[in-house]
């Protein structure tokens, strides 16, 4: 019997009261007694050589404790990259150093040159203005094509070129794909840009380094999605602090979306500086600073060819992408355009031949790394756009063309030509559901109504697949990952039967404090109120890999299940002893241990008490206590999928696009808390629609970020969006984790951009405008310009 607060219940969130009353505890809310404040002097030019740097006058400013420059970090490691990609010739990628503070050169606007630590933040800022720095400006490269030209200015003098790697996937298929495309009945080609985005979690990054000279112990409070990863990277690779002397705490974190996965210079700086001055050091980013220091997302330039036969069956896909790495390699950066992008290029379709080429490029811009979806939105966008274009060229409806090529539900498990195996799915079912909830049949009537108002109405469809539940460690290790991607959980049963779960997953909006207890309550048959979740502190939780890639329930949740299984197994032994029965005869259900076939039972609480008060206890065979830890390394990725429909109205006079309706039919497998899943989809959709219509990190040719604050970088607001129609009743449970869950955090951001763009193109085509593509974001100016560039109209 599912419990009211067990798996499947739309339980309200227990985290909410603290956030709703101002009692959340975010990093910037923390003040360590005696703390000093750090301010970073950052480069205002995109590329330059530091000719001279004199901190003498600044050091004499009021309140200054110490000023640090690159020289202070000469003996310290650089920020490490967590993934090494091997290129198509078998060579490792080019991997430049990434110093904490600039060493002789600056390579993007925002690169830190020096850091002032003072009694107050204002004093630190005042002093920073008195630092005398002379930067000899160098020519910049911000455009990827230019960066790869012979003789281009190199971002890193010590590298041969700005090419990080030239990756082929799967390289052995290259010629076969080329041949299939050359001989195909029809080839649809599309060149497109996947626009650079700024993640913009609402909480700016912050860090506080603290140091105890008596014990030589460091504590770092930081805005992180994965405190253990920060501890490992910073301790082992940057500062050389052993893990038992370094505690990393990620308290309440105000959103991440990928941008708080990575190890950033400010974390290492505050930790280093705290020891150097023997005081806590605090830094909090301004929003403008966040724009030029948080890792950006996307930024691909792609050409895709889709070959079809005379029946509209997909024969082959070839895609060539330039992927911007920025000036340095952020923690996960090399893996995003490769293993999180190329492996998804089959989409939901049974295309026999696929070849993916990616050239990763260094430019004088902020590093680019995973942002909600991370590689999968880029794969989905190009595929779902080119399919739409092919449908138009072949006069087949976009839904029909997709259906003709879907992997059938009887074909699972399905091995794609891009090295992954989908375990389950039913794509016709999600498309059926979409047609129902989006009222596709009624579209023509709505189009006529819009036309009567002088507006062009368009309908856009997309169907996405994503790989979540990241990731099997051995597999990713073979692909270049320098870490494992398991997750951990400790289930600590207390003497009176309540439970503390210590998880390596980190919650920064996902609601783990609510959903994880639902799982525990269900499996133990106790009230969810009896379960507490502890996360975000390396001092209390087992080594965990954190939260990203829609992995928390699939990997972290499974680790909890595995630990619970161990707890139940031990508790059964204790119960058997208490009932003087054979362990094999004891069953556990609804919070009670029963001897099968009898009415003799012992309650969960009594077993727990016996474990901690072992007076009547099999002490020679069993240790006291009831606490188990499990590490779970997934056997495969999970593969959520879904069908999305967007309806837009375009005002032909202004190019303004209004989203009239958006429907999403997702298959996330089993669902723990449908209310929270709905919320995850809503947020993903908003970010995807934001990418499609308004968000854009724009660099000029001098490497200046033109959209560097909220006055110019357009964030989606309430009045830009409709209410969403969503459904997740299509459920093909994951076959390789015990909960049958797949993950839902990124879906909305992956599936929505092509649906929006397809809808706008459909609207323009319906108005007789021969426009087959507009690059994102589809601002009103871009749409109007495209309409007016179409001489056929």
């Amino acid at each position: 019997m599912p419990k009211d607060d067990g798996i499947g219940a739309a339980t309200t969130r227990r985290e909410d009261p603290r956030f709703l009353t101002g009692k959340g505890r975010y990093t910037d809310d923390i003040n360590v007694p005696g703390q000093a404040h750090a301010f970073f002097l950052r480069s205002q030019v995109a590329h330059g050589r530091i000719a001279s740097l004199d901190t003498t006058a600044a050091a004499a400013s009021d309140g200054v404790i110490r000023i640090f420059t690159g020289d202070d970090f000469a003996g310290v490691g650089g920020l490490p990259c967590g993934w090494q990609v091997t290129d198509r010739h078998g060579q490792p990628m080019q991997e430049p150093p990434h110093p904490v503070l600039a060493q002789g050169k600056v390579r993007h606007v925002g690169d830190p040159i020096a850091a002032v630590v003072a009694e107050t933040l204002d004093q630190a800022r005042d002093a920073a203005e008195r630092i005398d720095v002379d930067i000899e400006e160098l020519p910049t490269v911000t455009n990827m094509q230019s960066a790869l030209e012979d003789g281009a200015v190199r971002v890193h003098d010590d590298l041969e070129s700005n090419l990080c790697y030239d990756w082929g996937f799967i390289e052995d298929n290259r010629e076969a794909v080329n041949a299939a495309i050359a001989g195909a009945h029809h080839v649809t080609t599309l060149e497109l840009v996947n626009n650079r985005l700024v993640p913009n979690a609402m909480e700016p990054r912050a860090a506080i380094g603290d140091y105890n000279v008596a014990t030589d112990e460091h504590t770092l409070y930081t805005t992180s999605q994965n405190p253990h990863v920060i501890r490992l990277l910073m301790g082992a690779f940057v500062l050389g602090i052993p893990e038992h002397k370094l505690r990393v705490v990620a308290p309440d974190v105000g959103g991440g979306f990928g941008s708080k996965i990575y190890h950033y210079a400010e974390e290492a700086f505050c930790t280093f500086a705290a020891k150097a001055i023997n005081r806590a050091v605090k830094w909090t980013a301004d929003r403008s600073e966040a724009f030029i220091t948080d890792a950006h997302g996307r930024d691909h330039v792609t050409r895709i060819d889709l070959a079809l036969d005379e029946n509209g069956k997909f024969l082959a896909i070839r895609t060539d992408t330039l992927a911007n790495m920025g000036a340095y390699l952020s923690t996960f950066a090399p893996s995003i355009p490769t293993y999180l992008h190329g492996t998804l290029m089959a989409g939901n379709y049974a295309t026999p031949l696929i070849y993916v080429n990616v050239k990763a490029v260094f430019t004088n811009t902020v590093p680019v790394d995973a942002y909600r979806g991370a590689g999968r939105p880029e794969a989905t966008f190009q595929l779902e756009r080119v399919i739409d274009k092919a449908a138009r060229e072949l006069s087949i409806s976009p839904i029909e063309l997709r259906r003709r090529n879907f992997i059938g539900k009887d074909q699972f498990p399905y091995a794609t030509p891009v090295a992954v195996e989908y375990d389950t799915g039913d794509y016709h079912a999600t498309m059926d559901k979409l047609e129902e909830i989006a009222d596709i049949a009624g579209f023509s009537g709505r189009r006529a109504e819009s036309a009567a108002n002088g507006k062009l109405r368009g309908l856009g469809i997309s169907h996405y697949i994503e790989a979540c539940g990241i990731a099997p460690s051995a597999l990713v290790g073979a692909l270049g990952a320098r870490a494992g991607l398991y997750e951990s959980a400790t289930v600590r049963v207390n003497a009176t039967g309540s439970v503390s779960v210590l998880t390596g997953s980190h919650s920064h909006g996902q609601g783990h404090e609510t959903t994880f207890p639902q799982v525990v309550a269900d499996l133990l048959g106790i009230d969810a109120e009896q379960v507490a979740i502890v996360h975000g502190d390396t001092a209390t939780t087992p080594m965990g890999m954190g939260t990203y890639g829609s992995r928390s329930i699939a990997v972290g949740g499974t680790a909890i299940v595995k630990a619970l299984e161990k707890v139940i197994a031990k508790a059964k032994k204790i119960a058997a002893h208490l009932m003087e029965a054979s362990e094999a005869d004891v069953t556990f259900a609804d919070g009670a241990f029963t001897i099968a076939g009898t009415d003799r039972s012992v309650a969960w609480g009594d077993v727990c008490l016996a474990a901690y008060v072992p007076h009547n206890y099999p002490i020679e065979e069993l240790e006291p206590g009831l606490e188990e830890t499990a590490f779970y390394d997934p056997a495969n990725f999970t593969f959520p999928a879904g069908a999305y429909a967007c309806e837009v109205e375009v005002d032909p006079a202004t190019g303004e696009v209004e989203i009239c309706a958006f429907a999403a039919a997702d298959d996330f497998g089993n669902i723990i808390n449908p209310m929270i899943v709905d919320g995850q989809v809503h947020g993903g959709l908003a970010q995807g629609i934001g990418q499609a219509l308004m968000e854009h990190a724009v660099y000029d040719e001098h490497g200046q970020l033109l959209s560097g604050n909220f006055m110019d970088y357009t964030m989606p607001r309430a009045d830009d969006l409709p209410s969403f129609v969503i459904d997740h009743s299509c459920q093909t449970p994951c076959t390789h984790n015990p909960l049958g869950v797949k993950g839902c955090g990124e879906a909305g951001a992956i599936g929505s951009p092509p649906a929006v763009v397809n809808a706008v193109i459909d609207a323009l085509q319906s108005g007789g405008h021969d426009v087959d593509h507009i690059d994102m974001p589809l601002t009103s100016c871009r749409v109007w310009t495209a309409i007016n560039a179409d001489t056929g109209s």
Binding site: D16, G22, G255, G679, R717, D719
Partner: protein
């Protein structure tokens, strides 16, 4: 330094501030009311919305000294003394109107200001009113739902 006094969440406070001290920093750093957040530096995001003399303002764009003698209400003043949630707060919990929680105080304060002016706003009115509050998590769907539910609950 300037001495200022104001009523914050019903409590009289007096302290010294600099001319440049913003209301948001006075609340956070001097009064320890860290529920009011700073999410941007251009007065766009609305995470810092508080009420001054009953009206919503962005506490990052008001000097503390300008609030001298005024009544200020922050998110900490919206719940009952026993910690019980106010109607709007309860609606946000019931309808999952928050995820990471960072924008939430500003959203609740803006919602209260809206409902003061318009006791029964429709969806479009709510969306338009929230134009000064950014949320990156919820897509606003459930925030709108929460505010409608709060309006209904307040009758």
């Amino acid at each position: 330094m300037i001495e200022i006094s104001m009523e914050v969440n019903g409590r009289e406070v007096t302290d010294q501030v600099e001319g440049r001290t913003l209301l948001v920093h006075f609340l956070r750093d001097q009064l320890g009311l860290t529920g009011t957040h700073v999410g941007c530096d251009t007065s766009q995001c609305g995470a810092c919305v508080v009420h001054v003399d009953g009206r919503a303002v962005k506490a990052c764009a008001v000097f503390a000294a300008e609030a001298d003698g005024r009544q200020v209400t922050t998110i900490e003043g919206m719940a009952g003394d026993d910690g019980s949630l106010g109607v709007i707060q309860q609606a946000f919990q019931d309808h999952h109107g928050l995820q990471c929680g960072f924008c939430t105080p500003g959203m609740v304060m803006s919602a209260a200001d809206l409902l003061r002016q318009n006791s029964n706003p429709d969806e479009d009115e709510i969306r338009e009113y929230l134009e000064g509050n950014l949320c990156r998590c919820t897509g606003y769907h459930n925030i709108v739902k929460s505010i409608r539910a709060a309006a209904a609950a307040m009758g």
